[in-house]
């Protein structure tokens, strides 16, 4: 199968950064995204809380997962925008992954790849 010129960007960010990141991405020309509330751990690997005097570990930290499908030409700029706006400099800021998309189709019209975005 012939490769498309479409990329999938998966980013995990701190929940309180969602609104800021969404605004920056809209300004950068992103016309759609998928958002999921997730829990997980990375190098931050949880923390401890106290309930009624007893300490307990929170092993999975709440994060927001963004999935954004864009034209390959825009991918670098989008990654940069997310990195810049989601960054606090503290541990637990999240990760970004960029993947090739084999095919993209708009359900309403049947348009494919870049036309489907």
């Amino acid at each position: 199968m012939k490769g498309t010129n479409v990329k999938l960007i998966i980013a995990t960010i701190k929940p309180f950064k969602l609104e800021e990141v969404r605004e920056a991405l809209t300004e950068a020309g992103v016309r759609g995204m998928m958002v999921t509330e997730i829990k997980g751990f990375g190098s931050q690997s949880g923390h401890t809380e106290i309930y009624r005097g007893a300490e307990y570990a929170v092993n999975f930290v709440p994060k927001i997962k963004l999935e954004i499908v864009v034209a390959a030409s825009m991918a670098d700029q989008i990654v940069e925008t997310i990195t810049k706006t989601a960054q606090t400099g503290k541990i637990g800021d999240g990760k970004i992954f960029v993947l090739d998309v084999q095919q993209a189709i708009r359900v309403r019209t049947g348009e494919t790849n870049e036309d489907a975005l």
Partner: protein
């Protein structure tokens, strides 16, 4: 109405010559004033009684909020059932066991009056009232019944999430029919603790510590919830709904005005109504002191304030002031409550160290602060003696622990106390009742 009006004076003269005479006699104020004492005392009991009744709602909401969602329906079921059983068994046995009115089968220890409580006749007259100088029997029964039910409510929270429904309810029957009324007769029924000079105004010991001792005994015999204490560590099990727990605490706080204020047992004179007012104000400020003390103590100790402990702190303040809500000044009442608030914040982790699993903190709140409140009487009431207070705490404690342990062990031998492991993990709601409190939420 008109016919009645014209007939009434004539009828009164025939049927109640004494009343007619008094109205026409030289001292027209005497009967009216005795009537009003009877009326206002009874009114105090009725208002106090329905406020204390509402504490049952407070306990139900507090406990529903502090158990996990898979056990909420069961906890509510236990609360409704225990209150209703208390109402029935206090009527059948408890009331006369608690108030022998001088007829003892063992002097000062065991009532000589057995059988159900009996109210005054419909439309009773002043002459025929059981105690015209005091209050109606109906109001007295109604008020005292609520205290008995409160004692039973204390037990259910501690043993939540693992005890079977029926053994718990049978224990409730024994507690409300016999254990509570018997020891209460020693103080409030005019028994040997009362003779010894023991002071417990509204029941820091008689009500709260008794519920606490019964809960403690049950918690030790029952054992902790699965997973609570693992590999020498404490695993917190957060409650399902802190909104309900907070509502429950405020409801208890409201009910306590009736609990302590009603325990003045009189509202027919300027002095009595002023005392009832003092008690309301002192009760309120003690709760506030307890809440703020727990807020500050949990902030200092754990770096973050813990709402569940602040709620326990308010209740701790209330229990602490219950043994003497009248004599302290507002400042002293605040401090007595505040000490209670500090006590619970230290006592809750301490219970965990002992591996005694108390789901809602009823043992620190009702037992430990009940003891503190009973001792604190000596600070503001010169009639109290520390020796008698301690002696009474020990007597009531030993009796309640022994009697409760006997009942718990018999129930354990006959029917078992705990649900099986699978039921406990899946939740008592589905396993024992087949219904959930929040069926539209997924399992968490």
């Amino acid at each position: 109405m008109k016919l009645l009006k014209t007939l009434a004076p004539a009828a009164a003269l025939i049927a109640l010559p004494s009343l007619g005479l008094a109205q026409d006699g030289p001292t027209p104020g005497v009967n009216a004033s005795t009537d009003s004492v009877f009326i206002f005392n009874s009114l105090l009991f009725l208002i106090g009684g329905f406020l204390v009744f509402w504490m049952a709602a407070g306990f139900a909401m507090l406990e529903a909020g502090l158990v996990r969602s898979k056990n909420v329906t069961m906890q509510l079921t236990k609360n409704v059932a225990l209150f209703s059983l208390a109402a029935i068994f206090y009527y059948l046995i408890g009331y006369n066991l608690m108030y022998p009115l001088g007829t003892w089968s063992i002097e000062g220890v065991l009532s000589g009056v057995w059988g159900p409580g009996v109210l005054e006749a419909v439309g009773v007259t002043a002459d025929a009232a059981d105690d015209y100088s005091y209050a109606s029997t109906g109001s007295d029964f109604f008020f005292q019944l609520m205290f008995c039910a409160t004692t039973a409510s204390i037990v259910s929270g501690t043993l939540a999430e693992r005890i079977k429904l029926w053994p718990f309810l049978i224990f409730t029957i024994m507690l409300t029919a016999i254990i509570y009324p018997l020891q209460a007769s020693w103080k409030w029924g005019g028994g040997f603790l009362d003779e010894a000079g023991f002071l417990d105004f509204a029941g820091s010991t008689v009500v709260h510590s008794v519920g606490g001792w019964a809960a403690l005994t049950g918690a030790i015999i029952l054992g902790p919830r699965i997973g609570k204490y693992k590999d020498g560590r404490v695993t917190p099990i957060p409650g399902s709904n802190l909104t309900l727990a907070t509502l429950g605490t405020f409801i208890l706080w409201l009910g306590w005005f009736g609990f302590n204020g009603g325990s003045q047992l009189a509202m027919g004179t300027v002095g009595d109504v002023a005392d009832v007012s003092r008690i309301f104000a002192n009760t309120n400020t003690a709760a506030a002191g307890g809440a703020i003390a727990a807020l500050i103590t949990s902030q200092l100790l754990f770096k973050k304030p813990d709402l569940t402990m602040i709620l326990n702190g308010a209740l701790a303040g209330l229990v602490s002031i219950t043994a003497e809500p009248l004599t302290p000044s507002l400042g002293a009442a605040t401090l007595i409550g505040a000490v209670g608030g500090v006590i619970v914040v230290f006592a809750i982790p301490f219970m965990d160290k002992l591996k005694i699993d108390d789901v809602v903190g009823a043992i620190p709140v009702h037992l430990i602060c009940g003891i503190w409140g009973t001792i604190a009487v000596v600070f503001t009431n010169s009639d109290a003696s520390i020796g008698t207070q301690l002696y009474s705490i020990v007597v009531v404690g030993v009796f309640t622990v022994v009697a409760s342990a006997v009942v718990w062990f018999i129930l354990k031998a006959i029917m078992g106390l705990r649900v099986d492991e699978e039921t406990e993990i899946n939740g008592l709601d589905m396993a024992e009742l087949g219904m959930e409190a929040y069926p539209e939420f997924s399992k968490g």
